[in-house]
Subunit: 157 residues, 3 copies
């Protein structure tokens, strides 16, 4: 079992990632990842089938940054904000200095007109390591419960 | 106050129960309970009134297993998956080796066509003990906030 | 970093606040605050703009109690209950014995007819101190993600 110290740090790290997005500090978001990295959003059925094709796949910090730049530039989508709820953070093991972590999430989306809905739910499968005393995602796979990904997927989950 | 060790184990146990259901490993679900046990889903009003008649009541592992067998066999319901969000796990006391624990939950349900909704919210009132170094529910009472239990209650909460 | 002891106590305190409301023990709610105090519900845009005018503002326990008395007396609103989901509790610092704490919330609302919806999501910005070994909110600012606050805001968030 992971010791208390690293357990707390991993929990804080996962919560800070969510606050970073929900507080709209998206320019800091790529810093949560190693470089190279793997960030993928995929639906439950494709993931079960072993597909490597996700709705979104990034494998470097540069690609993560590009997504944020595009999102900031675009402005073609209807403004909205996210609120992440994270539950059930469980460290499943450690291999070569990387912790495998599972957690559940729901993203509540609020549109500018005030409409509120559950935008997405699912789970995160993470590989997290420690570089110069800083935790980072080597890999964060977002497995959405729904096979129908909303066309409004612009902000990262 | 419960010591840190047992506190962490109880939190992990409650989260593992949720992951077991959400990951569709339902055959493992009865193992979270002692035998005999008490698993009951009841609405807030009937619980407040002291009613012992729930929407679902099981008092042995055999009954829990039967539910899962029926659910796997039936296939008459529209396929859907759950995502549990657990919040506010609080150990309220210990009597004769059983911890009384309260927590809040919401279950997000995703239908095969992609429809997402809050299926149920409420609280768990648990009695948890330690048998041969394994935590198990002596009792898990699920008190739903809504008095209208969806007809689609087939997967356990 | 806050030590483990106070970290756990702050987490428990924030969860107990939510259970107090969700269990309809509203008469105990003012006791979670110091006297004087600051409890404010404000939307994200007005908060970002630095506005001090919230949808609801109370600065003493007496005002908090008055709200509950009015709510109990009124009975002009359609009965409903809340379920708080709290996520991402993060202690951001300590100044003069007061901890600054950030967390995310969602409130699931269930009407008497059984209708369930996400009523509000947002974040809490708290200042918490320790008085005679009892934690209390010096300040709890509730920043709602939606600028459209539901007319049915009678129960505190």
């Amino acid at each position: 079992m992971a010791d208390d110290r690293i357990r707390q740090r991993i929990e804080d790290f996962i919560h800070d990632y969510a606050h970073c997005i929900d507080d709209d500090r998206l320019e800091e978001w790529p810093e949560f990842f190693t470089d190279p990295c793997r960030y993928q959003i995929i639906d439950r059925e494709n993931h079960a089938r072993g597909s490597v094709v996700g709705v979104m796949t990034c494998d470097s910090r540069g690609m993560l940054r590009d997504r944020i730049l595009a999102l900031r530039d675009a402005n073609i989508y209807e403004p909205h904000v996210y609120r992440h709820l994270i539950s059930g953070i469980r460290i499943r093991g450690e291999t070569d200095g990387a912790w495998s972590v599972q957690s559940s999430y729901a993203v509540i989306r609020t549109m500018q007109n005030g409409d509120v809905s559950v935008f997405s739910s699912g789970k995160y499968l993470d590989k997290i390591n420690l570089e110069q005393d800083q935790l980072r995602f080597l890999e964060r796979i977002v497995i959405c419960d729904s096979i129908r990904i909303d066309i409004l997927l612009v902000i990262p989950i």
